[in-house]
C-alpha cells in the first residue's frame, strides 16, 4: 500500500516536472494550428488529475485496514528486496543490455545466460555451460546468418575475440 502510494507520488512529481519542462522548452506556435506543447500538456494534466484521484482511492482503501499507515514505509526492507531473485534478475538484464555494445554479443550473451539460468534455479554447471553455448550460437545463427543482422562485436580486444570466434563458425 505504502509502496503503491510512493509509486503514484513519484509519477505525479515526474509528470508535473514534464508539464513545465515542455512548456519551457518548446516555442509557442504561430498561426492557426496547435503548438507542439498543447497535446502533451493536455495529456499530462489528465494524468496528474487521475493519479491524484487514484492516490486518494488507494489511501481510502488502505485506510480501512487497521495495519495501514505511513509508518509502513519504514518496514519496507531494502535488503531483502536487493537480495531477492526479482532484483537480481532485473540487474542481470540491465547489465546484459549495457554490456552488449562493449563486450559484444557472443561473450555478453554467454555470460548472461549462465548468470540468469543460475538465478532462476539451474544448478548443474554442465547443463548451464552447454545450454548457454547452444542458445548463444542458435540466436547468433538465426539473427546474424539467416536474417543478416549485424550483431555487436564489442570494443578492443573483445572485438578481436568476437571476430576470431565468428571466423571459426
Amino acid at each position: 500500500m505504502a509502496l503503491e502510494l510512493l509509486f503514484n507520488a513519484g509519477l505525479v512529481v515526474f509528470f508535473t516536472y514534464a508539464y513545465f519542462f515542455i512548456g519551457a522548452t518548446v516555442p509557442k506556435a504561430e498561426g492557426p494550428g496547435w503548438g507542439a506543447e498543447v497535446w502533451p500538456q493536455a495529456i499530462l494534466i489528465a494524468l496528474i488529475i487521475l493519479l491524484g484521484v487514484n492516490m486518494v482511492m488507494v489511501y481510502r482503501g488502505g485506510g480501512k485496514t487497521p495495519e495501514f499507515g505511513f509508518g509502513k514505509l519504514r518496514q519496507i526492507s531494502l535488503t531483502s528486496f536487493v537480495q531477492g531473485k526479482l532484483f537480481l534478475g532485473m540487474a542481470a538484464l540491465f547489465v546484459y543490455a549495457m554490456s552488449l555494445q562493449a563486450a559484444g554479443f557472443i561473450l555478453s550473451t554467454f555470460v548472461f545466460f549462465v548468470v540468469y539460468a543460475r538465478i532462476v534455479g539451474q544448478k548443474h554447471t554442465k547443463t548451464l555451460v552447454v545450454s548457454a553455448f547452444v542458445a548463444t550460437f542458435t540466436v547468433y545463427f538465426v539473427f546474424s546468418r539467416a536474417l543478416g543482422v549485424m550483431l555487436p562485436r564489442g570494443y578492443g580486444i573483445l572485438r578481436d575475440f568476437a571476430i576470431f570466434l565468428e571466423g571459426l563458425l
Partner: protein
Amino acid sequence: MLDLLTTGLQIVFSPGTFLLILAGTVLGILFGAMPGVSASMSVALAVPFTYAMSPVVAIAFLVAVYTASITGGGITAILFKIPGTPSNAPTTFDGYPMAQQGKAGKALGVSLICSAIGGTVSAIAMLLLAPQLASVGLRFGPSELFAVSVLGLSVLTALDSDNVIKTLISGLIGLFLATIGMDPLLGIPRFTWGNPAMLGGVEMIPVLIGLFAITEVLKQTVKPLKLDPTSSKAGADFKTKLLTLQEAWSIRWTVVRASILGTLVGILPGAGATIAAFLSYSTEAKISPNRKQFGHGAIEGIAASETANNAAAGGSMVPLLALGIPGGTAAAVMMSALVLQGVQVGPILHRTQPEFLSAVFASMMLTNVLMVICSMAIAKVFNKVLNVPYSILGPLIVLFAAMGSFALKGSTSDVVLMIVAGIIGVAFASFKFSAAALVLGLVLGSLTEANLRRAILLAGGDLLAVVSKPITAALLLTCLAILLAPVLSGMIKKKPKVTA
C-alpha cells in the same frame, strides 16, 4: 469477376508459383513468430527473393509472406506471451492464460482458423469491392482518422473494467510516451533532453516485447511455473485442436464483426493490423456475452484479435491495387518490389493488368489454407520448447527478445528500452495498472495527435469545424456511447434495487 478468379487460380496453381507460395507461407510464419520481426519487416526480408521472379509471381509470394507472418506471430503470443508482431499483442491477453490452463492446442486452433477466416473475408472484399472500398477509405481525412483513433482509445476502459482509473492512467502514460521525440507536424524535439537517440521517439516493438515477454520472464524468475501446454504429461502428444462446430457457432458474430472491422481499418491509410486487432478486441470485451471471461482465456478474445489483424492485412492491399496508394508499411514495401520490377503501380493497374488483383486474391486464399496446415506443424515444434525447464527457457526468451529489439535499428538502446519496459511492466503488474492500455496508448498516440492537429490546421484553428464533420461526428458519438454504456447500464441495474 469469374475471369479474375480463373486467372488467379491459374497463376497460383502453376507448380512453380504454388511451391513459392508454400515457401513464402513457411517463411512468413517463421519470421512472424520471431519477436521484433514485424509483418512489414518480414516482407522487406523476403523482397530479395523476388528479384528472380516475374512481377505477378513476386506479388503473390510477398502477399503469402505478409499474410502468414501475422498468423505466425500468434503462435509465440499464445505459447510464450511474446507477440511475434505488434498486431498479435491482444492475442496474448487470452491466448497465454489458455496455454497456462493446458489449452494451448485449442488456443492455437482458434487463432489459426480465425486468422484464415479474417484473411479470406478481406480477400473476397478486395476482389469484389476494391475500387469502391478504396474510394470510401480516401474520404477519411485527418479529422475522420482522428475520430477513428479516439474510437480505439475510447474502448480503453474495456481492457480492465475493474480498475477503470488505473487503466485510463496506463493509457495516458502510453499517449505521453508517444509524444517523446520529434513533433509530427513542426519537427520540434519534445522530451528528448538533448539526447539525439530519443529524437526518433519511443519504439513500439521493444516496449511491447518488454512489457509482455520480459515482465513475464521476471515474474517467473521469482516463481518459476512449468508451463503445461496440454493436459497430457509434458506435452508429449501436443496437437493443435481446431474449433468444434459448437465453438465455431458460439463465436460466429465475433468473427463477423472482427472481419468487417479489420478489413475497414486495414483500408484506412496509416491505420493497420495492430490498431484493427486492438479495436476489435476491445469492442468484443465490451459487447461479447462472454466478456467477463476476457483476459482469463476467452476464445472470443483470441478470435477477435486474430480475425481482425488478418482481415486488416487484406484490407491494406485494397488502396494499393485499386489506386496505387499503399495502405500500410508492408503494402509500401510490396509496392517498392513491384516498382523495382518495372511495374507502373497506379489507379489504372487493376484495369490494364487485372492479373495483379487476381494473383493477390488467389494467393491470399491459398495462403490462408496453407498457413493453417503449416502453422499446425510449426506450432508442434515450438511446443517442444515448452518442455524445456524454465531456468533454460527464461534466458532463451530474453535472448530472442533482446535480439528482436536490437534488429530493428541495430541499436543497443532499443535493448535497454526493452529491459526498462519489462521492469515497468513488473511495477504495473504489482500495482494493477494495465500494460495493455499503455501499449494501446502508445500505438494510437502519434496517429491521434498528428491527425487532430492536421485537421485543426486545415480548419483554420476551428476545433468545432473539425468535430462537426459528418463521419467524424458519427464516430465521436459512437465513442461517447461506448464510454457511457457501462455507466448507464449500471444505473439501470441499480434502479430496481432502490425502489425495492
